[in-house]
């Protein structure tokens, strides 16, 4: 599939602010499921800083905007070819040891509810890949998709307790239950192309990868009860949403920040 992406993130402020610094992880991962055709990332009026590829294989680029800052506009425009790898992250160069993804974070902290879910889901399961599928199914079942019921700081435990959330919550919950079984798991951010039947949601999307010994990292999208295929564009990963965030930024000053995001994905007909 060939997809075009048009993604604009705008942070606006009531009063002029001091300098702004952004660390961007907005570049398509390099693996056999993706081939970048054309990709541009920019911060309007900003100064490009250093760039590097980290140990997890993600490209990071930093930008800064000189004061006074009234608005920070981050744009991504690109075209990419995607290939269905059945969720397997094949051909992805990275160095981080999978075990480094067993660490708990606030967002993925395991509580009684999550450990009960984790234990019941894999009660009679012997094979890790099968376990991972079952855990993903259990999370899909336990948390229904309901936008507006959670926010960026909702933890996996909280989302499970209320039984609803968005893709971020599904991803966090699946990470938590996988780690509970000593399976390294991580948060992946990216895009999802919404098909016409309207089933998948959230064009700016997030899912989970679980390490399966002998196979490597496998993607699981509990929010859509499937594994990522050629409708998915993978950007970067981390222990949780905060670490994997496509944009991490700070603008100095006390004014309230308003966020506006538009994401448009389109399929290029061949």
């Amino acid at each position: 599939m060939i997809l075009t992406v048009d993604h604009v993130t705008t942070y606006s402020y009531d009063t002029a602010m001091g300098a702004s610094v952004q660390s961007l992880r907005l570049f398509p991962s390099r693996f056999s499921g993706q081939r970048e055709i054309d990709w541009h990332v920019a911060v309007e009026g900003g100064i490009r800083g250093g760039e590097f590829r980290d140990g997890a294989g993600d490209k990071v680029e930093s930008w800064s905007v000189r004061p006074p800052v009234e608005e920070v506009v981050v744009t991504v425009r690109g075209q990419i070819e995607t290939i269905d790898t059945a969720g397997v992250l094949r051909g992805h160069r990275e160095l981080v040891h999978p075990m480094a993804y067993l660490r708990e974070t606030t967002a993925t902290w395991i509580d009684e509810g999550l450990s009960k879910l984790a234990a019941e889901a894999v009660a009679d399961c012997t094979e890790t890949l099968d376990c991972a599928h079952r855990l993903s199914a259990a999370v899909s079942e336990a948390i229904s998709y309901e936008p507006g019921t959670t926010d960026a700081h909702t933890t996996a435990a909280e989302a499970l307790a209320q039984g609803k959330g968005v893709c971020q919550d599904h991803a966090h919950a699946l990470i938590a239950v996988a780690r509970a079984h000593d399976m390294p798991a991580r948060y992946v951010s990216g895009y999802l192309f919404a098909t016409e039947d309207g089933a998948p949601h959230e064009a700016a999307h997030a899912w989970t990868e679980i390490w399966i010994e002998g196979m490597g990292w496998i993607g699981f999208d509990a929010a859509n009860s499937c594994c990522p295929d050629d409708r998915y564009i993978r950007l970067g990963s981390g222990l949780d949403a905060n670490e994997a965030a496509p944009i991490r930024g700070i603008t100095q000053g006390g004014s309230e920040e308003r966020l506006n995001v538009t994401v448009a994905l389109e399929q290029v007909q061949q």
Partner: protein, 470 residues
């Protein structure tokens, strides 16, 4: 009754290194001694160096007791130590470069993967990054104790930002001012070269993008930090700026320092700030002490941070056990300095042994420091031991145990005159384009009779440490 090695006396005989000091004390009348002690204290107060060694906390305005009786090593003794310390510093750096790279030592099965990659101090964010010259720990503080004429043990390694070096320099300075004659009569290796050696070391790890003379600064959390005195003292002696996070910003792939003449590009940061606070965009998002975007500049090669973020994974108490293994693995050498035998309560057999012999052992928290959260079995009451036994059983992974070491003693001025007191030693090793060790270090002394705990928060003091020239 345990025999303790007395560094000055072998029976009635004065050991060679201390021969010059025998007469010095005997000829010193009590009132002169009291006067000198008061003078030393006044000097310490005047320069403002107060209680804060090794980030132990405590009352920041309390003066750490200074004992005027120097601790002495011969050139021969020191050379042996020096080889061992440098060997260790090389191995620790090789280990850090490896575990943030391919992790060969883990692949080879010489260190359990869990201990490295699940370690709290392991920074995933720097995985794959190779710092200038491949060095992660530029200032290595190795804590040593002596138990016999030729027997030294490494208590712990400090690969992040070992503090206390200002005491090494001030103790010497004050001794030279008070007893100039001692320094005329004895040939003592100088330690005053430390700030310049540190500056050279930092300059030698400037990033590749730096052309010309590198600009260096010390990054401090601020004046409320317990080691702030040391930060400003070292900045002063090196002739570099002392900065806080708010004095720095990033732009265009570099780190800049705000100055009265406009922004100045900074090449090397000697940070005295923990990893977690360095950059809110990479680590703790709520940190106000760091510089937003600094880690991106660092990882793209625009600035060098010393010690490198992530260096802490080498000095963890659980990793410590494996340092001899690192020396064999990376250097193909046998360790010249021994580790203290250590039992890991995380291991079932070790736990059983520790609970069995707890009254004879020293039990420590894996992540503890400063002598807190520690049990010295032979010096504890039954009740204290029972409390610890429960703590260990509740969370065995959090504890290690070691035999109670018979720490050597050196003569120390006490109320009644001169008496032996237990000491340890922290020398400072610099790692840059070359590896250097200052001939000296910080000797800490347990001022309470019989005490084996030298931490300043537990009644410890400091001494000048001499290495005699040949």
């Amino acid at each position: 009754m345990t025999e303790y090695f007395n560094e000055m006396f072998d029976g009635d005989q004065v050991r060679a290194p201390y021969s010059a000091l025998d007469g010095w004390t005997r000829d010193m009348p009590a009132d002169l001694r009291a006067m000198k002690q008061a003078e030393a204290e006044a000097m310490f107060r005047r320069i403002g160096i107060t209680f804060a060694v090794y980030g132990e906390g405590g009352d920041p305005d309390r003066l750490i007791p200074f004992d005027m009786f120097p601790r002495v090593f011969t050139q021969m003794e020191w050379r042996k130590l020096e080889r061992g310390i440098k060997q260790r510093a090389r191995a620790l750096n090789a280990f850090l470069l490896d575990v943030y790279g391919r992790g060969e030592i883990v692949r080879a099965g010489r260190i359990p993967a869990r201990l490295v990659y699940q370690n709290e101090a392991y920074e995933r964010a720097v995985s794959g990054f190779v710092p200038p010259r491949g060095i992660y720990s530029h200032i290595v503080g190795i804590d040593l104790v002596r138990t016999g004429r030729d027997q030294f043990y490494v208590l712990e390694d400090n690969c992040r930002t070992p503090s206390g070096v200002s005491y090494m320099l001030e103790n010497r300075e004050i001794m030279m001012r008070m007893f100039p004659q001692l320094f005329r009569d004895n040939r003592i290796e100088p330690v005053e070269g430390y700030p310049e050696a540190l500056r050279r070391t930092l300059a030698s790890v400037a990033p590749a993008k730096c052309t010309g003379e590198p600009t260096i600064a010390i990054l401090t959390p601020g004046h409320f930090n317990s080691a702030y005195y040391e930060h400003s003292f070292l900045a002063d002696l090196m002739g570099v700026d002392l900065v806080e996070g708010a004095d720095l910003f990033v732009e265009g792939g570099f780190c800049w320092m705000r100055t009265t003449e406009g922004p100045q590009k900074l090449d090397v940061i000697y940070r005295r700030l923990d990893d977690a606070y360095l950059d809110p965009l990479c680590f703790r998002p709520d940190s106000m002490l760091g510089v937003p975007g600094l880690m991106d500049v660092y990882r793209s090669g625009g600035v060098t941070i010393t010690s490198a973020p992530g260096a802490g994974v080498a000095d963890d108490k659980a990793i410590y056990t494996f340092v001899p293994e690192m020396i064999r693995f990376y250097l193909g050498e046998e360790p010249l300095l021994e580790n203290v035998p250590t039992w890991q309560c995380a291991k079932e057999d070790d736990l059983k042994y520790v609970l069995d012999k707890i009254g004879e052992l020293v039990v420590k928290e894996v992540h503890g420091s400063g002598g807190y959260g520690m049990l010295v079995g032979p010096k504890s009451t039954k009740e204290q031991i029972e409390i610890f036994r429960h703590k260990i059983m509740e969370d065995p992974d959090n504890y290690i145990a070691q035999p109670t070491l018979a720490l050597s003693t050196t003569p120390t001025f006490v109320e009644e005159g001169v008496a032996p007191r237990h000491v340890d030693l922290r020398p400072y090793c610099l790692v840059g384009d070359k590896i250097e060790l200052m001939p000296g270090g910080l000797t800490r002394v347990a001022l309470t009779e019989g005490s084996l705990v030298v931490n300043s928060s537990q009644g410890g003091g400091v001494k000048d440490t001499w290495v005699l020239a040949e």
